[in-house]
């Protein structure tokens, strides 16, 4: 059992490092979702299923979705400004 907890902790640490080391936000969102999955596994391994459930809702679904929506909105605004330059300044 200790071995499983140790492996799960190591995986969480490694994937967390990958999340920090990824630069493009689109790619980071996918790795962040994977990080949420690893945290869920860790929480069930240390026998905290309720914490795992809330982590699953927040980390694997909600945060990546909001990150992706924000990126998409920013891209669209940037492209709109590039197409109609100077429209916002008036």
């Amino acid at each position: 059992m200790t071995v499983i907890i140790a492996v799960a902790l190591t995986l969480v640490a490694a994937i967390g490092a990958v999340v920090v080391g990824t630069h493009s936000p689109e790619r980071q969102a996918v790795v962040l979702s994977m990080f949420g999955m690893a945290l869920t596994v860790l929480f069930v391994t240390v026998q905290a299923p309720d914490v795992a459930l809330s982590q699953l809702g927040v980390g694997a679904a909600l945060v990546p979705l909001m990150v992706m929506l924000a990126i998409r909105r920013i891209r669209r605004d940037q492209r709109g400004e590039a197409r109609r330059p100077g429209k916002d300044e008036e």
Partner: protein, 87 residues
């Protein structure tokens, strides 16, 4: 350590790191494949772990994991698709 926990450990140590490595490289859509394999592996790991622990009430966690990862990956495929320029 009973046989179920050993199987769970084999899944966690043998199949989760390759999936995590797939999410760590390449284009965003390529990384999505790693996420899919990773969530399948996580669900099967949880099934074996819960059997090994003898705590069937924890089974709600893999059930929710399946549903949430399905919805989450579909959202990713919608939002990673290129935006149509003419609109």
């Amino acid at each position: 350590m009973n046989a179920w926990l050993i199987g769970a450990l084999a899944l966690l140590a043998g199949a989760f790191p390759p999936a995590a490595l797939l999410t760590a490289r390449g284009e965003p859509a390529d990384r999505l494949i790693g996420l899919e394999i990773g969530s399948v592996v996580a669900v099967l790991f949880l099934l074996l772990l819960i059997q090994g622990l003898g705590q069937p009430s924890y089974l709600i966690v893999p059930l929710v994991t399946v549903l949430v990862s399905f919805a989450g990956t579909l959202v990713f495929t919608r939002l990673l698709a290129p935006v149509a320029d003419e609109s």
